[in-house]
């Protein structure tokens, strides 16, 4: 009886674990590439990743596909950790928004630091916007600022996640102007938006694609663009913080990263394939539908943005006493 157990176990180990010899050579990629998405299937990041995954093999040398693998949990940290731990051979990459890279390490929740990743390409980015109900008493940013200064502690606003770029974008402004406002945390942008419409909070700070529908329905108005100025219809006439004289701009980006030691030539291969896919009409249509704005940037620019954001968030979180470096 006992012998049988061990016999079976050994057999299985032999057959199952017989990894075929590593046949990696100059022909990168010669097998499918795995793209980790640190969020649930069906979310924004996943939708974009799926759109790319559908067509990218047409643009990849040897027609190799890019397979999406969802590893959600821990505000994106779990999946991003997997990408960080992966072998730097270019066969494991990750599509990331800013949160897990530029914010979570500051909380000490992540085992990695942002410089331990190699940026490959930025694909899209949306400015964070500051919106209020359309029946709110303020029509311009200046009116709002004046009112809030006169009524300390009266203005409340919400965002979809505590410590996320969307919250920090407005907190930065609040700190700079030394305002007294209340921040109400929510578990998702949908809940934050419902609280705004129901009159439970006075404003929201969210990524621009998330107010697109509300603007069209006349439910909300944007007081300020907290991110980079972009040429989109609903932002025409909306001042950006830079235009208002502040030195701040926070965008929610989507880009591709890999573990830091990935060879340069493989970065180039990946970059070129993703850049070509970004111009694919199918991908473009899905990005447009979800309201995510295509916004290409090469590897070096994207790497710089990740590190710059990291520094800004560190400063803001320290000032808010949410972290103590």
């Amino acid at each position: 009886m006992r012998k049988l157990w061990s016999l079976i176990a050994v057999c299985v180990l032999l057959t199952g674990c017989a990894v075929p010899g590593d046949t990696e050579d100059a022909n990168y990629p010669n097998r499918p590439i795995e793209m980790i998405i640190a969020y649930e299937a069906g979310g924004v990041t996943d939708s974009i990743a799926q759109a790319f995954s559908r067509v990218i093999s047409d643009h990849m040398p040897g027609d190799q596909p890019v397979v999406v693998r969802n590893i959600p949990g821990g505000a994106g940290v779990v999946g991003t950790t997997k990408a960080w731990q992966a072998r730097p051979d270019g066969y494991t990459i990750s599509m990331v928004p800013p949160g897990p890279l530029s914010v979570q390490p500051l909380y000490g929740n992540a085992p990695y630091q942002p410089e331990e990743f190699r940026a490959i390409i930025r694909l899209a980015s949306n400015p964070i916007v500051f919106a209020v109900r359309s029946d709110a008493p303020w029509d311009t940013f200046e009116e709002w600022l004046e009112w809030t200064k006169k009524n300390p502690g009266e203005f409340s606003y919400a965002s979809g996640a505590t410590g996320a770029p969307s919250q920090l974008a407005l907190e930065q402004l609040v700190l700079a102007e030394n305002l007294r406002t209340s921040y109400v945390p929510f578990q998702s942008t949908g809940e934050a938006y419902a609280a705004l419409l129901g009159g439970h909070v006075d404003g929201v700070s969210v990524s621009s694609q998330q107010v697109k529908a509300g603007l069209a329905a006349g439910e909300v108005k944007i007081l300020a663009n907290l991110g980079t100025d972009r040429d989109i219809d609903y932002l025409h006439g909306v001042p950006s913080l830079t235009e208002l004289g502040y030195d701040m701009a926070i965008d929610a980006y989507f880009g591709i990263v890999a573990s830091a030691d990935i060879p340069d030539d493989r970065v180039t291969v990946l970059h070129d394939a993703f850049q070509a896919t970004l111009n694919d009409p199918d991908v473009n249509r899905i990005l447009k539908n979800t309201g995510v704005l295509p916004d290409y940037a090469p590897a070096t620019t994207f790497q710089q943005q990740i590190m710059d954001d990291f520094a800004v968030y560190r400063e803001t979180l320290t000032a808010l006493q949410l972290i103590h470096p």
Binding site: S47, V77, V78, T81, Y107, S156, S182, H200, G214
Partner: protein, 507 residues
Amino acid sequence: MENLILFLQGMQTAFAPMNLLFVLVGVTIGMLIGVLPGIGPVAGAALLIPVTYGLDPTAAIILLAGIYYGSMYGGTITSVLLNIPGDSASVITTMDGHPLAKQGRAGVALGVAALGSFVGSTLALLALVFIAPALAGVALDFGPPEYFAAMLTGMLLIGALIGKSLVKGLISTFLGMALAMVGMEPTMGVARFNFGFSELLGGINFVLIAVGIFGLSQILLNLDTKAIVTVNERITGMRPRRAELRGTTTATLRGSIIGVVLGVIPAISAAVASLVSYATEKRLAKDPTRFGRGAVEGVAGPESANNAAAGASMIPLLTLGIPGSPTTAILLGAFMIHGLTPGPTLFTDEPEFVWAVIASLLAGNVILLIFNIKLINLWAKLIQLPYPLLYPAILAIAVIGAYSINYSMSDVVITLVFAAVGYVMRQLDFPVAPIALSFVLGGNIEWTLVQTLAMSNDGLLIFLGRPIALGILIACVAIAVIAMAVRLYMRFVRGKGSDANVSTPVG
């Protein structure tokens, strides 16, 4: 009236052969997903979104909505037959559904559940067609203070699930809340009770608790019992006894109404609706002690309520663009991908699409009702297979289910830990259903209290200025006082010695 005409036009689109096929495929996949523990409606719908990229928007949404509906029906089946709830909405169904199955009345439980689900969904659909805009307005009046009050009341209703011993029931309830504290918290993003595991940063997934504490521990427990009677040889059909007919009918109707009302409010989940329905039925019953031992109303009410709530959560989704549950959040994503923006403009901009989808919901429900009634015999036969043949396969499916949420083996390990916890708890006579429901409510109580206090400049006094929240809190206190009074009265009537009897272990 105008809506009715549009609805009839929508029927034409929905009943076009191609679209009917998508309804059929959707609800079938949904049923399958619901039956398999682990892959709940959320994961099911999400997994299939990429499949719909190539379809036209109407077909895509019809397919995904079908999966949502189908899985709500399917979740009941494992709750009744195996005591494994597929998602949080069907936890309550295990309370009386499984005892019914043990008595050889699985057919009755499944039949009543299928019919109740149909009635609940249809009522929700009627609400969607006729009074959606009015209901949607009410939904927005619910802010954090109102949710807090509602969740607190929900915690109180968990009392209905507490079995023989009050102390053990309370321990289970608070344990559920404690489990909800794991992971990053709302105020500062501090990671709690994760003991250094990044897998626990996002908290514990409900499915792991359900599969571990309910499913696996039950199977492990059955290993010991010499004569496991999963079902009697004789399946007594799916008709309730004559004496039960009236109670079942009223329970179904009450459950449906409770479900529609609560389902409209975003963030109040189908699980809460089924809990409220169960507590209501137990309170109103002439003999509450039947509950937990196979009361047909205990299946009919909650099943009607959770499907009605699932249907009603389409109201805030379609009219306001606000998802009321994780699954509708997935649907929202699917809408966006296909270039549709749910919200007030959807009805005016895309009337054909909206009404076709609504009509497809009706078609889907009819198909599901027929399916379920027809399949009851098959399910009944399936669990008549010898248990030693069956349980290893169920174990394997449970492991896949836990794995499939995040494609993570650490989730399976967590599930195994919960299986051991559930095993010990059952041996010690702790009730397990309160853990699952207080887990769902507990985290929300903390979030909504933090939000309420962040909104308020005067601390808890904010409740005085919020009539809805205050009303719920007063009702909550009233329920507590009445329940206490009834308990004391019962003790008085029965005389002293009863308390000692109550806590005697049975196993």
